[in-house]
């Protein structure tokens, strides 16, 4: 097959795909929906603050011991993460950290975001990124450091990355002349990683010094942020082998802290887009890094045990909760018929009481690795297993969402089930239900943007 024949076939296939996606559209509706969606995303950011405050209030009243211990430790008087210069802490006491577990993290960790500037949280698996600025970047990677159209560095961008490594790799520099992939696994112990970055990727790294994070030893180094020449990569990836996997950028002036948590290497990167910007950002960032606390030894038992119950805390106290109730929790073994899965699970049943006729497309978001079941007219069915959270966060803002049509008449109830394994370090997590499309209900044309709960792994009150 020659080039022309191949191109003709590709053209035909891709054009057919494009045509299948084409639809008659109303530009007014598309634009209005986009503007509304952007506004909702903005409101969710504020809800994050409300949610953490609600969690704080609930935890102050009656809490499971470990969660209280985790939260009670903050702000924690940990040794300063030298050599980052200590500055006046700007973390707000009201911005309580959410105890979270990063997928791929050896332990959950808590943190306390500064009150000023407002920082956004971006999570993809083992990478937790906190940055200043709006997440307007179409290709979000946790940095938001580059202008999306020109590729130039944004002068005021700055942030902190907390990332756990699992078989990291970098781009060999200079790239091999052969056709073999320009990807090389690097050592994932703290000292080995820093050495390999310098030796294999030619990353410009300062002298390595001893430091500490959360009371434990760490290695500290600074990156000049000089872009490597040629086709050398400007990042290292945390794991996997995909170019789309989370990465730590090496082309930004930054301070690195590399340390071990239960046998896994964690990297904290304080970055800005200029040396001057980094110097100005360092005090606030250092205060933030000092609040990071890994809460629970790995391998310990879950906070939840068989027979435990959980409670749901409405994240938005002003939300209209009458339509939605959590009616039952239960745990059991082997939930799947025929499954040899010996894990124990806990299941949350959520009932939507439909007061008026609704036709909705709904979106679920929940903690990664949970399984969502739903009932809509027929029997209960497993909707889909879910994996990583594309945009999970504390609390999850987007998460792995599952869409499900809900067609219900007044007086109906619609049940949803969330099934979570009782293992690992389940503590406190997040669940939301987001009505999406338009309703035909003339009386109540809009459901709330989002119903959401914090699920507290403690005794039911």
């Amino acid at each position: 097959m020659n080039d022309q024949q191949l191109e003709a076939r590709i053209t035909r296939l891709l054009r057919r795909r494009a045509e299948e996606a084409s639809e008659s559209f109303d530009a007014d509706v598309v634009a209005a929906s986009a503007i509304r969606g952007a506004a909702q995303a903005s409101r969710r950011r504020w809800r994050q603050v409300i949610a953490t405050a609600a969690l704080a209030a609930s935890l102050a009243l009656a809490v499971p011991l470990v969660v209280r211990e985790a939260v009670g430790d903050t702000p924690k008087a940990t040794p300063a993460a030298t050599p980052l210069a200590s500055g006046a802490p700007s973390a707000s006491p009201s911005a309580l950290p959410a105890p979270v577990m990063g997928n791929g993290f050896p332990r959950p960790f808590t943190y306390q975001l500064p009150a000023d500037p407002v920082m956004n949280t971006w999570v993809r698996g083992p990478m937790w990124a906190f940055y200043v600025g709006d997440s307007a970047g179409p290709e979000s990677n946790g940095y938001e450091a580059w202008d999306t159209s020109s590729g130039e560095l944004l002068p005021d961008a700055r942030g902190v990355v907390v990332a756990a490594l699992d078989s990291p790799w970098i781009h060999e520099c200079p790239p091999p002349e052969s056709e073999r992939p320009n990807r090389v696994r690097v050592r994932d112990d703290p000292a080995g990683l820093l050495e390999d970055l310098e030796a294999i990727n030619r990353t410009e790294i300062s002298a390595v010094t001893e430091s500490s994070v959360d009371g434990g030893p760490a290695l500290a180094a600074s990156l000049a942020g000089t872009p490597p020449g040629g086709d050398c990569g400007g990042d290292f990836h945390l794991g996997g082998y995909s170019s789309g996997s989370p990465f730590v950028a090496l082309t930004l002036p930054s301070d690195l802290l590399v340390f071990d948590v239960d046998g896994k290497t964690v990297v904290v990167q304080v970055w800005a887009t200029s040396e001057e910007g980094l110097a100005a950002w360092r005090p606030t960032a250092t205060a933030f890094v000092d609040t990071i606390h890994f809460t629970q030894p790995s391998g310990s038992d879950s906070l939840l045990n068989s027979g435990d119950t959980v409670r749901f805390v409405a994240a938005d106290a002003d939300g209209p909760w009458a339509d939605v109730t959590v009616t039952r929790t239960e745990d059991y073994e082997n939930p799947e018929p025929g499954s040899d899965d010996a894990a124990r699970y806990i299941e949350f049943e959520i009932t939507f009481n439909i007061s008026r006729d609704r036709t909705r497309q709904a979106s679920w978001a929940a903690q990664p690795d949970w399984t969502i079941f739903g009932e809509s007219g027929g029997g209960i069915e497993k909707i889909r297993g879910i994996g990583w959270g594309e945009q999970s966060g504390p609390p999850m803002r987007h998460g792995p969402t599952l869409e499900r049509p809900i067609d219900a008449r007044g007086g109906d109830t619609v049940h949803g089930f969330i099934r979570a394994p009782i293992s690992g370090s389940f503590q406190t997590t997040w669940l939301s239900f987001t009505p999406r499309s338009e309703t035909t209900d003339p009386v109540d044309p809009e459901w709330p943007d989002e119903y959401s709960w914090i699920i507290d792994g403690g005794p039911e009150q």
Binding site: M1, D3, L6, E7, R9, I10, T11, R12, L13, L14, R15, R17, A18, E19, E20, A21, S22, E23, F25, A27, D28, V30, A31, A32, S33, A34, I35, G37, A38, A41, D134, A136, G137, P138, E139, D147, T148, S149, S150, G151, S242, S243, G244, E336, D369, K382, R384, G385, I386, G387, W388, E390, P400
Partner: protein
């Protein structure tokens, strides 16, 4: 529309003018859908991706410095959202249970003359195994008709680099089809 007119619409949209934003949607939505559809091969996912792209465009337009590049920028946003959807679906696919997987269509889904034959099915499979960025490149070239120079500006590579990359992708597809 004149370049000045186009710039004016972009500037007004970037400043929060909903009517101007709607005008941008009317002008570019179809191309963005086509691009996302070609990348994803799933009409519904493409529509979702483009809707998200418009959401990001609304908040990100003010960062667009060269207003004459609005088409390329919007296509980039749509392409990015489509690639993100590809990654999300791949990630989720790893967790699909067997009872879900058995619902997937068996090969070939439509083996009659009006639909996909074996060769096209194989090509489609090969296309889907490409890096989404390469699929985006092919879509821009063969669906939207970008020239090498336009692709060069869009991708930030030299025209020679674009031609070289296109050739590599075509070679890879040809090789995969040969081994089918």
């Amino acid at each position: 529309m004149s370049p000045d007119g186009a710039s004016s619409v972009v500037a007004r949209a970037a400043s929060g003018d909903r009517f101007a934003f709607t005008e941008l949607v009317a002008t570019h939505h179809a191309d963005m859908l086509g691009l996302a559809g070609a990348i994803l091969g799933d009409p519904d996912a493409a529509r979702d991706a483009v809707q998200l792209a418009w959401q990001r465009a609304w908040t990100g337009l003010s960062a667009l410095r060269d207003e004459s590049r609005v088409r390329s920028w919007l296509l980039s946003v749509a392409g990015n959202e489509a690639r993100r959807a590809v990654r999300g679906s791949r990630r989720s696919a790893g967790f699909l249970s067997a009872d879900v997987l058995i619902d997937l269509p068996a090969f070939p889904p439509h083996a009659d003359s009006d639909n996909l034959g074996y060769e096209d099915f194989a090509l489609e499979q090969a296309l889907d195994r490409l890096d989404p960025r390469d699929r985006e490149l092919l879509s821009l070239r063969y669906v939207l008709g970008f020239s090498s120079v336009e692709l060069s500006a869009h991708c930030g590579l030299s025209p020679e680099g674009i031609r070289s990359r296109l050739k590599r992708v075509l070679d890879r597809l040809r090789e995969e089809l040969t081994h089918e």
